[in-house]
């Protein structure tokens, strides 16, 4: 079984907030720590009392049946919604009251469940947008093409190509993002998110719509990204092959609440998880 080669025998250790991180990240400041995170939409608790901790180099999975509140958690983390309860610590800093843009600058980047690229821009432009806040030159050197502009532009171009090379996409740099095939668009979205230099990468169903071969490649690439950039990855996914294959810690949500946390093996044998996915076993007739 191909997924076996990803399987790591990670030992998970508890961290103060009743969560767990891989042993190698123990003692380090978690990149993300939420405590009692929740949001209410007019009385409906979409997410309730979620305690999560993600180690600095952990690949963590967030799973659960449809409508469990997984994407809402992502929206809370990226400040698309402001939480009504609890706190989010990003690299130890409270993100309360921040805007999405500020959260991004703090080191959080994400992809979307339904691809949201800048379709009318080229692939390279999509990536350089993310590099924006790292390369500085002012408006005048931009309009009048002063040396500062060229230097910044050259650096940006090189960096964009470097990032695209992770997914072997450098030859597509000048194509319109909207004209790419579906799989390439999904990969470009990940590259674009990486360009903002995150310390935590959120992937919302990265394997959706991919064939088994592409999923296999994606798994390799997620591990490669983690190793190369030394960042944490938190992913939502329904493809259990991927989740069980690469995630070190898994958090299961149902009806907005965490029903289980642990390593892939623990999760697979957890009765509450099986019940959430398959329903309660009826008594035998």
């Amino acid at each position: 079984m191909a997924s076996k080669k990803f399987k790591s025998n990670t030992i998970m250790v508890p961290v103060p907030s009743t969560s767990i991180v891989p042993e190698r990240d123990a003692g380090k400041l978690p990149v993300l720590e939420t405590s009692h995170l929740g949001i209410e939409f007019g009385g409906l608790k979409a997410v309730d009392d979620v305690n999560l901790a993600v180690g600095p180099t952990e690949i963590c999975g967030l799973i659960g049946p449809n409508g469990a509140g997984k994407t809402t958690v992502f929206n809370l983390l990226t400040k698309v919604y402001q939480p009504t309860h609890g706190t989010i610590l990003l690299n130890g800093k409270d993100t309360a009251g921040m805007t999405t843009e500020q959260a991004n600058r703090m080191g959080i980047a994400r992809t979307f469940q339904n691809i949201r690229l800048f379709n009318n821009m080229t692939v390279e432009e999509n990536v350089t947008i993310g590099l924006h806040n790292q390369i500085r030159y002012n408006m005048f050197s931009g309009i009048f093409r002063l040396p500062g502009y060229w230097m910044g532009e050259k650096k940006q171009h090189q960096k964009a190509l470097d990032l695209l090379s992770i997914f072997d996409m450098t030859h597509l740099a000048n194509a319109k993002a909207g004209s790419l095939p579906y799989g390439a668009q999904r990969r470009l979205e990940i590259v674009r998110a990486l360009a903002t230099h995150p310390s935590l990468l959120l992937l919302d169903e990265p394997a959706a719509g991919m064939n088994p071969h592409e999923t296999e490649e994606l798994m390799e690439n997620i591990i490669k990204i983690r190793d190369q950039f030394q960042i944490a990855v938190l992913l939502i996914e329904h493809d259990m092959n991927l989740v069980m294959g690469i995630c070190e810690g898994i958090c299961v949500l149902n009806y907005g609440r965490v029903i289980a946390k642990g390593t892939p093996d623990e999760i697979q044998s957890n009765p509450a998880v099986i019940e959430a996915y398959l329903g309660k076993q009826k008594e035998a007739k």
Binding site: E101, R116, L117, N120, G130, H132, Y137, M139
Partner: protein
Amino acid sequence: MITFLTYLINGLNIGSVYAVIALGYTMVYGVAKMLNFAHGDVIMVGAFLAYCVCAYLGLHPIIAVLGAVIGCTILGILIERLAYKPLRQATSLAVLITAIGMSYFLQNMAQLIWGSDTKSFPSIIQGDAIVLFKTVQDGVTKTLTLSPINILTMASCFIIMIALTLFINKTKMGKAMRCVSEDKGAAELMGINVNLTISVTFAIGSALAAVAGILLCASNYAPLSPTTGSLPGIKAFTAAVFGGIGSIPGAMLGGILLGLIENLGKAYVSSELADAFVFGILIVVLLVKPTGLLGKKIHEKV
């Protein structure tokens, strides 16, 4: 022939003013996804500011233009901050109504400050008209002339269009604008400051409106009064829709074509029907090609 060319020049002249106004509409629509119906009245404020600097303070026209541009830029940012920003999450209808309210507010404020009578706008550029062509036909001398204000209008519109195209395509802020116009949420997640981007859009749009207002009044297309901006504003909006709202080259093309059609219609069909002609175009465009000449097609994946 010369008569035709004269109409053509006049059409190009007013057309380029429409194009500059339409740029303001189209940029704001593209980035903030709203129709800023107060844009026409910013034109009027710009013209009044220039008039004040010229007539009351007696300063040089160039300073008047600068003063009007700076004044309108600040006004544009203020309008966005006070009237539209609180409605960022509201329905587009609420924003539209606010924009109309803002339009009336500006008109009435102008009436309060400057009175409702029309003012004669000082000429901002002196000099003799250039004679391009001269013929004597049946003993009548016909000349094709290009007045300094014509040259100034067309030249400044041309420069504005080039500068704006460069700005949108080559600068960081321009790129940010394109991102925000495509997907505000995704742009925020790329570390783009959406509020700042929208403010800059309004600032540029309003600065363009000030220039357009001065050119409009200086070419004597409209007398200066609190309602000066309404009709050109609506026509420029038509031009923006004609060219494809949200598209910058579309606004330029739409503006110039509209000016030509209006002037030739005035000359060869009926001067009373010229306005009806212009709005007739709006109806035809909306029926035949709702996205406008250069508008993007919206693909809906099924």
